[in-house]
């Protein structure tokens, strides 16, 4: 009996040892892939929310796991890449606490109501990531959501005490090596062998997403005087950007610089159509009657008196018709005629309404948050007060052509700087602007689908309409891998972007 058992077991044991099938050229064998002339042992990523893995209006664990630097680092492991550390949040809700008080919102999820309408809503729950109790950096991923170009070199940007006044950034305060440290110094102290820098987006984006309520600071060389929604002076940008590349490339064998995409390529600005107000013929006629005096008397009168040009008068005309209409808005780039009208005896309330009033036109971009405002009645007691129809959209909800020009001018200048520095330093220049344009215009075909910038369904953009989804970040990583392979004669494998998630569905 014992013998039989012995024979039986030993036969099984022989089998167990001999059974592993071996592929001829296993991908996990040293040397299958090659890093070429790049040294990817210690990769440090520096930038803003796009580097951090921010998505859906928050920073949360699964988003960080799918940050483009983390995806890159995963593929770098095939060619000698070392550990890649990230300042992981404590949960998948994403909100930040400062001394127990929530200071940033939770992530957005796509919710479906009982009538089947889909809309992004904030995920409910008590977040647990406390800024004052964060882990201490530095980390390989030094992407700081909200950071502008000059913030990376600003001492005190990680000082907890400065968060509420806006002088410091909670994401950096959470991990800064000291209250006086700079993001750049914390990054460079790790002696990266390879780096990526994607910064400058917020230098125009906060202006754009706020509908241009900030100032264009071109000409003002002192960024400490800038407001949060201002456009950074291109010379300030060029100066700090150059400083940042110098610091990061001091120890590095190579690096990647990514440029600034156009705001017109992202769903935050392209989702809400300009002709967003549906009206029937009767309502349109009634509204036209209300604006008749304004169109035919007030505007020509202002032109005649020399307060505005004929061009501005044409821009300020308000007309509605049956079908889809342009909403009315307040444009702070128009001449403010409130006082003039009051002086002419127009009631103050009406004068204020008409002061910088015009109708949205095709050259404007209505921002995504306007979709939940247009058509609502702010005061339920006055049902005729309808946003976009009788109540103008605030300036913060529309990025006008004038404002777009300011953004485009600044970003073109930033991009010229980035390109020039990339050439001078022999670094990789990734034209993120062209890539986003391509995603927006034609889409990117991948195995199993097409990546587009269509809000909610296109797969590239998360529910905040600004930041990519994990799939969008994975595509970014692939583009960078292609560029590294070409530049440094490397053979790093890419990722299958269809395996990366897009937006999250959840009903609270």
């Amino acid at each position: 009996m014992k013998n039989t058992l012995y024979i039986c077991l030993s036969l099984l044991a022989i089998g167990f040892v001999s059974c592993e099938p071996e592929l001829e050229n296993p991908v996990n064998e040293e040397g299958f892939y090659d890093s070429g002339s790049a040294n990817l042992a210690n990769y440090v990523a520096v930038g803003n929310s796009l580097t951090a893995g921010y998505a859906d209006g928050a920073l949360y664990i699964t988003g960080q796991e799918n940050s483009f630097p983390n995806i890159l680092a995963g593929q770098f492991e095939f060619v000698g890449g070392g550990e890649f550390t990230q300042p992981m949040m404590d949960d998948n809700l994403g909100g930040l606490l400062l001394n127990g008080q929530q200071i940033t919102e939770n992530r957005l999820v796509l919710s479906v109501d009982s009538e089947g309408n889909r809309a992004p809503v904030r995920l409910e729950g008590e977040p647990t990531t406390e800024v004052t109790n964060g882990p201490t950096g530095p980390y390989n991923n030094m992407g700081i959501p909200g950071a502008k170009s000059f913030h990376l070199v600003a001492p005190g940007y990680g000082n907890v005490g400065g968060i509420l006044t806006g002088a410091a950034n909670p994401y950096y305060a959470r991990i800064a090596t000291s209250g006086n440290a700079t993001v750049l110094a914390d990054a460079a102290s790790q002696n990266p062998t390879f780096f990526s820098l994607w910064i400058g987006n917020n230098d125009i984006l906060s202006y754009a997403t706020s509908g241009g309520v900030g100032e264009d600071q071109t000409g003002n060389l002192d960024p400490t005087t800038y407001g949060p929604n201002d456009i950074t002076d291109p010379n300030v940008f060029a100066s700090v950007y150059s400083q940042e590349v110098d610091a990061l490339s001091a120890s590095a064998s190579g690096g990647v610089l990514l440029n600034i995409p156009d705001v017109t390529s992202i769903p935050y600005f392209t989702t809400v159509p300009t002709q967003v107000v549906p009206l029937d013929a009767a309502t349109a006629a009634q509204l036209n009657a209300q604006f008749a005096l304004y169109n035919t008397q007030v505007l020509p009168g202002l032109v005649a008196a020399g307060f505005i040009t004929q061009e501005e008068a044409d821009l300020r005309k308000v007309t509605f018709s049956a079908g889809q209409n342009y909403p009315i808005m307040t444009d702070d780039d128009l001449t403010d005629v409130t006082q003039i009208l009051i002086a002419q005896g127009v009631p103050a309330a009406t004068a204020e309404l008409l002061g910088q009033l015009r109708q949205v036109n095709n050259s404007d971009l209505i921002v995504l948050p306007a979709s939940s405002v247009i058509g609502t009645t702010p005061n339920p007691d006055i049902p005729t007060n309808i946003v976009g129809v009788t109540v103008p959209l605030g300036d913060e909800l529309v990025l006008t052509a004038v404002e777009q020009d300011r953004v485009a001018t600044a970003s073109a200048s930033y991009n010229a700087t980035i390109n020039a520095i990339a050439n001078a330093k022999d670094l990789i220049y990734i034209d993120a602007k062209a890539l986003l344009k391509q995603i927006d215009e034609t889409g990117i075909v991948y195995n199993g689908g097409v990546l587009t910038s269509e809000f909610g369904t296109g797969g590239a953009f998360s529910l905040d309409g600004v930041h990519p989804t994990p799939r969008g970040y994975a595509y970014t990583a692939n583009v960078i891998i292609d560029a590294i392979n070409a530049k440094y004669n490397a053979t790093i494998p890419k990722v299958e972007i269809g395996n990366y998630p897009t937006i999250t569905l959840t009903n609270n």
């Binding site: 009996m1 039989t4 058992l5 024979i7 039986c8 077991l9 036969l11 099984l12 022989i14 089998g15 167990f16 001999s18 059974c19 592993e20 099938p21 071996e22 592929l23 001829e24 050229n25 296993p26 991908v27 996990n28 299958f32 892939y33 664990i61 699964t62 796991e65 593929q75 095939f78 998948n92 999820v109 796509l110 919710s111 479906v112 089947g116 889909r118 995920l123 195995n447 199993g448 689908g449 097409v450 799939r471 494998p493 890419k494 990722v495 299958e496 269809g498 395996n499 990366y500 998630p501 897009t502 999250t504 569905l505 959840t506 009903n507």
Partner: protein, 416 residues
């Protein structure tokens, strides 16, 4: 008989693996040692499976054969475009068999067999690159067969009988390539059905034109195991009406295809026997793995397989060394039923070559120990499964596969 019990102790489970599709050609240690030939071989009760017509030519009043095979199988996968790599961690599976034949009269023998001709146990690491196709599968089918064998004369006999099949399946895969819950856990489904039964039959004949030559043919009918009211368990599903995957029941059917065997055996130089079998498996019945969920909210799962009929060519040699020892060796070539573009990782089977050897040792007058050994070699293959769809768009799953299996077996024969 104690030894038989002991063998059963070795057998951790009756799960099984290997051969074209999910056919598991391990139906006897004597036959396997000879390349799994046997349709025209008469040497033990293993003929209950291989060709019941041969039972009536067995010399003893009562013949019993029982045994077990230990299947160590493994699959390595990679895709060098992405650096993805996976290796299955298949548990040892131990298909069993038990055959008995009783010579009732000079012209009639009756037999009984229990064996496991179909099955598959494949376990990948959860959430591996092909997890949207399979994480793991455990498919088992046990056939119980009664047989009669009738000698028409010394040169010709017929045999056959009914088969009762009982099966079970447990299959887990992720719902898509990317769907997760809020915390990033991949959404997955496990379908589980057991006690699925159906009937089939087998029939064959044996022709002995000379004292040394036997010719045999045997046909085993297809048996379609139709799972009804199986359990579908969905995990990590987002809380959204857009992902209405609630636990439900399911119906599915899995065919055990018909198989035809024809072959011959030839005794020569007194102590030698040569055997050749040709098998044809009618896999074209396996068009699709379709899972019909009871809950109308849950979309049914349609997985094209589109198998083709496939042949196996088997060669075996036996040498009676002494009264006490018999040595055997064999080879077979097993064609895959999987068409190009339908290479699904749950049955990653391309063409294979089996190399076999074994021996029998007589212990006393009544007992024989049968040992066998099979090494099954698959060539490395670049293959893809092209019929996975997301939102109606085809998303092929490609890669390089390399499989093998290593199967030691041990059995006992008793004759009276």
């Amino acid at each position: 008989m104690k030894k038989v019990v002991l063998l059963a102790v070795c057998a951790l489970a009756t799960a099984v693996t290997y051969a074209g599709g999910y056919r598991v050609a391990l139906q006897g240690n004597k036959a396997l040692a000879m390349g799994h030939t046997g349709v025209a071989v008469v040497n033990s009760a293993e003929s209950v499976f291989f060709n019941p017509a041969g039972l009536v030519y067995l010399e003893d009043q009562l013949s019993i054969s029982a045994g077990v095979h230990g299947v160590f199988s493994s699959v390595a996968y990679q895709n060098d475009a992405f650096g993805t790599y996976a290796e299955t961690d298949n548990p040892l599976s131990t298909p069993l068999y038990l055959y008995a034949s009783y010579q009732a009269t000079d012209w009639l023998a009756v037999g009984l067999g229990v064996y496991t001709p179909y099955g598959s146990t494949v376990e990948y690491e959860d959430d591996w690159a092909g997890s949207h196709l399979v994480n793991n599968i455990d498919l088992q089918a046990i056939f119980i067969q009664g047989s009669v064998s009738i000698k028409v004369n010394d040169k010709f006999s017929v045999g056959g009988g009914p088969i009762y099949a009982t099966g079970s399946v447990n299959f887990n895969r992720n719902l898509t390539r990317s769907l997760t819950d809020l915390n990033g856990n991949r959404s997955e489904v496990t379908v589980d059905a057991s006690g699925v039964t159906n009937w089939g039959w087998t029939a064959g004949f044996m022709f002995n034109p000379t004292d040394n030559l036997r010719i045999g043919a045997n046909y085993r009918s297809e048996i379609i195991l139709e799972a009804e009211e199986g359990d579908a368990d969905f995990q990590n599903i987002p809380n959204s009406p857009l992902t209405p995957f609630a636990d439900t029941k399911f119906d599915a059917s899995l065919p055990m295809p018909a198989e035809l065997a024809v072959g011959l055996s030839y005794e020569f130089c007194d102590k030698w026997t040569f055997a050749f079998d040709y098998n044809r498996a009618y896999w074209d019945v396996y068009e699709s793995l379709s899972i019909d969920f009871a809950n109308p909210q849950v979309p049914d799962s349609e997985n094209l397989r589109n198998y083709k009929n496939a042949s196996t060519y088997r060669f075996g040699l036996q040498y009676d060394v002494t009264e006490m020892f018999t040595l055997r060796a064999g080879y077979y070539f097993d064609e895959t039923p999987v068409r190009e573009g339908y290479f699904a990782p749950e049955t990653p089977r391309n063409d294979s070559s089996g190399y076999t050897a074994g021996l029998s040792v007589n212990i006393g007058e009544h007992f024989q120990i049968d040992a066998s050994f099979l090494y099954l070699h698959f060539k490395e293959v670049d293959a893809s499964y092209d019929y996975y769809f997301e939102q109606g768009v085809q998303a092929p799953f490609r890669g390089t596969y390399k499989s093998n299996a290593f199967v030691p077996g041990l059995g006992v024969s008793y004759k009276l």
